[in-house]
């Protein structure tokens, strides 16, 4: 069962890579692979039971997989030190902006949607 899941994931990755290469798109193959697996689940090509277990194990260990990328910071300590306060300030302000506009626009659109549904439009 787990092998079937691995096969599905690898197939999506390979197809994603093929699409990106052939069409020469500026996109990560893995994100195309994500959309392909999502589509395959939607149309019933891949069953949820097949990939559920693998996805859980993989996503539970996501943090461990990305730590090497964090450790690669050690090569750029001087560049980061130069811009440290710029990076901290810009990232923090921008993060709060994203929080506010996402939450506010969602709230507002949801209200609008409910109003329209209420009026039977």
């Amino acid at each position: 069962m787990l092998l079937k899941a691995v096969l599905s994931v690898f197939a999506c990755l390979f197809l994603g890579q093929a699409i990106v290469t052939v069409l020469n798109l500026p996109l990560p193959a893995s994100v195309i692979g994500l959309l392909l697996l999502f589509g395959a689940l939607q149309v019933g090509l891949v069953r949820l039971e097949t990939v559920e277990k693998l996805a859980k194990v993989m996503l539970d260990h996501l943090v461990l997989l990305v730590i090497p990328a964090c450790i690669s910071i050690m090569q750029y300590l001087d560049i980061i030190a130069d811009d440290l306060w710029i990076l901290v300030a810009a990232t923090t302000i921008s993060t709060f902006l994203v929080l506010i506009v996402t939450a506010k626009s969602y709230d507002w659109l949801r209200k609008l949607q409910k109003l329209r549904a209420g009026r039977g439009l």
């Binding site: 691995v6 994931v9 690898f10 999506c12 994603g16 500026p26 996109l27 990560p28 893995s30 994100v31 692979g33 994500l34 959309l35 392909l36 697996l37 999502f38 689940l41 949820l48 990939v51 693998l54 996805a55 859980k56 993989m58 996503l59 260990h61 996501l62 943090v63 461990l64 997989l65 990305v66 730590i67 090497p68 990328a69 964090c70 450790i71 690669s72 910071i73 050690m74 090569q75 980061i80 130069d82 811009d83 710029i86 990076l87 300030a89 810009a90 990232t91 923090t92 302000i93 921008s94 993060t95 709060f96 994203v98 929080l99 506009v101 996402t102 939450a103 709230d107 949801r110 609008l112």
Partner: protein, 230 residues
């Protein structure tokens, strides 16, 4: 001797060991702000510097883990599919708010770094700061940015949202579970999602949705927007 120092099993043992130790510490002290990612990053960098182990040696060892970075992104289709079944009626507000959030995240980050006089590398790096790390790494590869600098901004965005996010949302009178959860995932990826776990399962579901959708949208939008800004 140097063969022993650069042995991949030894290096991965150290990394996973420090990680396990910090997870144990967090549970023991019941302090959700103890951040295993941060502790392991700082701990392993200090360890490598102390014993004179080069990044190249560590990269060799970690490549066995990094192979799974792309499959883990594909696996995100599963929680996305599960959540999608539940929120189908609200797909429009969710997608529109995600597109707005992604664009604001990219544009405001790059512009702020530019305005403060940061380097070109910093401008490109900050564009993926709200994106979950495996996708941020991919976005940097597409944009020709520096993964190491981007990883730093991803960590900062995560910690900022985890520690201050709920307070900021309260200040602007956002209190609904869906809006809070969704925007925490959108702005602060996995750490925002971790923060939402203290609020309940509905929050987590929305945060997960925000994390995945922001990752997909930024992967599509950043290669279009960033070259146009810098």
């Amino acid at each position: 001797m140097s063969v022993l120092k650069s042995n991949p099993f030894f290096l991965l043992f150290v990394m996973i060991g420090v990680f396990e130790l910090s997870v144990w510490l967090r549970q023991k002290l019941k302090q959700p702000l103890i951040n295993p990612t941060l502790i392991t990053t700082v701990g392993v960098i200090a360890f490598l510097k102390l014993f004179g182990i080069s990044w190249a040696d560590f990269e060799m060892a970690s490549s066995h883990l990094s192979f799974w970075l792309q499959p883990v992104v594909v696996c995100m289709a599963v929680p996305l599919y599960v959540q999608w079944q539940k929120i189908r009626s609200q797909w429009l507000p969710i997608i529109v708010s995600q597109v707005v959030g992604s664009i604001v995240g990219i544009v405001s980050g790059v512009h702020l770094v530019q305005a403060m006089g940061g380097s070109m590398d910093s401008m490109i790096a900050v564009s993926a700061k709200s994106v979950t790390m495996p996708i941020a790494i991919e976005v940097m590869n597409v944009l020709g940015g520096v993964v190491g600098i981007s990883a730093a901004t991803v960590l900062i965005a995560g910690v900022a949202g985890q520690v201050m996010g709920v307070y900021v949302l309260h200040q602007v009178r956002v209190r609904r579970a869906m809006a809070v959860g969704l925007s925490l995932g959108t702005a602060s990826h996995a750490l925002g999602t971790a923060r939402s776990m203290q609020m309940g399962s509905r929050h987590v579901a929305y945060a997960t949705l925000g994390l995945i959708l922001n990752g997909i949208l930024t992967a599509f939008l950043a290669p279009v927007i960033v070259p146009w800004l810098v």
